[in-house]
């Protein structure tokens, strides 16, 4: 039996709560996203400000910053990921239990930011990790982080529990292996996980 969202809203207006396991399950987990207590650079200061009274991330159920990756649902990559730090970030991600989500906070975590052309900064954490929400800014304001969290909550609420659009942890056919890069003689090896990220096939049109 297919009940659309409009039908449910209609019923709710008449005081009848008709829900599904899927909706209840996603509603529950979308309002208890516990981030990992983990900061990398100046974006982490904004993340701390977001958790404090003025911006109060507790309004969205995410105030429980867990000091252990075993208890965390959300990795906020808040700041510059140097190549020396990248394996540790990937290892923390691997230690988090599914279901887990990743927010790339700020220009550095998205693309390397102002350090992109340098020799020692990763050109975006999405080379190794599947990023769910990208928050631009340098650093993003606490409001931007809250907006990113709300976007993530909407994404979680929209995830069906079965079928091809189900999240990673409910599917047997998906690869959940995120290998930790090794320190090489000149660069990280490999410099990206091919199954996670590929450079876009964009080339600027040549001038005639």
């Amino acid at each position: 039996m297919a009940i659309t969202q409009e039908d449910r809203d209609q019923l709710r207006r008449h005081g009848i709560l008709l829900t599904s396991v899927e909706e209840l399950y996603n509603w529950g987990r979308s309002h208890s996203v516990w981030p990992l207590q983990f900061g990398l650079a100046c974006c982490a200061i904004e993340m701390i400000a977001t958790s404090m009274a003025r911006f109060d991330i507790a309004r969205f159920g995410s105030e429980v910053f867990r000091p252990s990756p075993r208890q965390a649902d959300l990795l906020i990559v808040s700041g510059t990921v140097t190549k020396k730090m990248a394996p540790q970030v990937v290892r923390l991600w691997d230690q988090m239990p599914e279901p887990k989500y990743c927010i790339a906070m700020g220009a550095c975590a998205i693309s390397g930011g102002p350090f992109k052309q340098g020799y020692n900064v990763l050109k975006g954490i999405d080379r190794y990790l599947p990023v769910d929400v990208y928050i631009p800014g340098c650093p993003p304001r606490p409001e931007a982080l809250l907006h990113g969290l709300i976007q993530l909550q909407e994404k979680i609420r929209g995830q069906p529990l079965t079928g091809p659009d189900a999240p990673r942890h409910l599917r047997a056919d998906l690869e959940c292996n995120f290998p930790v890069p090794a320190f090489g003689a000149h660069d990280l090896e490999p410099s990206k996980t091919d199954s996670v990220w590929q450079p876009p096939a964009l080339e600027r049109p040549k001038k005639a």
């Binding site: 052309q117 020692n120 050109k123 090489g184 003689a185 660069d187």
Partner: protein, 224 residues
């Protein structure tokens, strides 16, 4: 505080064998420095720290400079007498000379006890590869420890007598010295939304390497 010239003269009197030269700084800051021979660097440093008038007890900053090998063209003028008895002609001859490269380490010294500074001393290695060795000044000033490790990491100067000479910023497996002028970055070009200037050149290098995969493409990185 004594001027750098006075310090130089006192150092020469105290250590007659040491090479101490004044490197003038022509900028308005006029922070002249003293270039000290590597053989007597440790003695000179201990003297500067313990001398009653100077008491340079604090090394605030250690930094490195890379001087790559460069070709210098010198013009030599010789006067050639005119056989006809006229005025002598001046013949110019250009001589190319290769100035050997070296690595330089610069120490900025202050005195907490006397409240003066900085006194800047420099030292140069023999070359940029095998003889890139200098005595460590960590036994003299404890604050040099991490900064000498950083210079070892980024420039490749080996400090003899350093208590714990390891890389500090890059990982231990890293082989290059990124602050050297001839450092070659790994071929890590991916894509750029708006390539320009240096990035465009990087992209061109990446495409040629990708088009002809061979030993040249497989060995990025700087000099050993």
């Amino acid at each position: 505080m004594e001027t750098p010239e006075q310090i130089r003269d006192r150092l020469r009197a105290r250590f007659p064998a040491a090479e101490v030269t004044l490197v003038p700084n022509p900028s308005p800051a006029a922070q002249h420095s003293l270039l000290v021979g590597a053989a007597h660097l440790a003695d000179v440093a201990a003297f500067l720290r313990d001398d009653e008038a100077l008491r340079l007890d604090y090394c605030s900053n250690v930094t490195g400079v890379d001087w790559p090998e460069k070709e210098v063209v010198e013009t030599v003028r010789t006067s050639v007498p005119d056989p006809a008895g006229g005025p002598a002609k001046v013949a110019e001859q250009k001589i190319k000379r290769v100035q050997p490269g070296c690595l330089e380490v610069v120490y900025h010294l202050y005195s907490m006890a006397r409240g003066h500074g900085p006194v800047i001393i420099r030292a140069r290695t023999g070359d940029r590869s095998d003889r890139a060795v200098l005595p460590s000044l960590t036994p003299v000033w404890r604050s040099c420890e991490f900064q000498e490790r950083e210079i070892f990491d980024l420039f490749g100067v080996r400090f003899e007598g350093h208590p714990d000479l390891r890389r500090i910023l890059m990982w231990d497996e890293f082989e290059d010295h990124p602050m050297r002028k001839d450092y070659v970055e790994p071929d890590d070009y991916e894509w750029e939304p708006t390539p320009h200037d240096a990035v465009l050149a990087k992209a061109a290098r990446h495409r040629t390497a990708a088009a002809a995969p061979g030993p040249a493409a497989a060995s990025p990185g700087g000099q050993p």
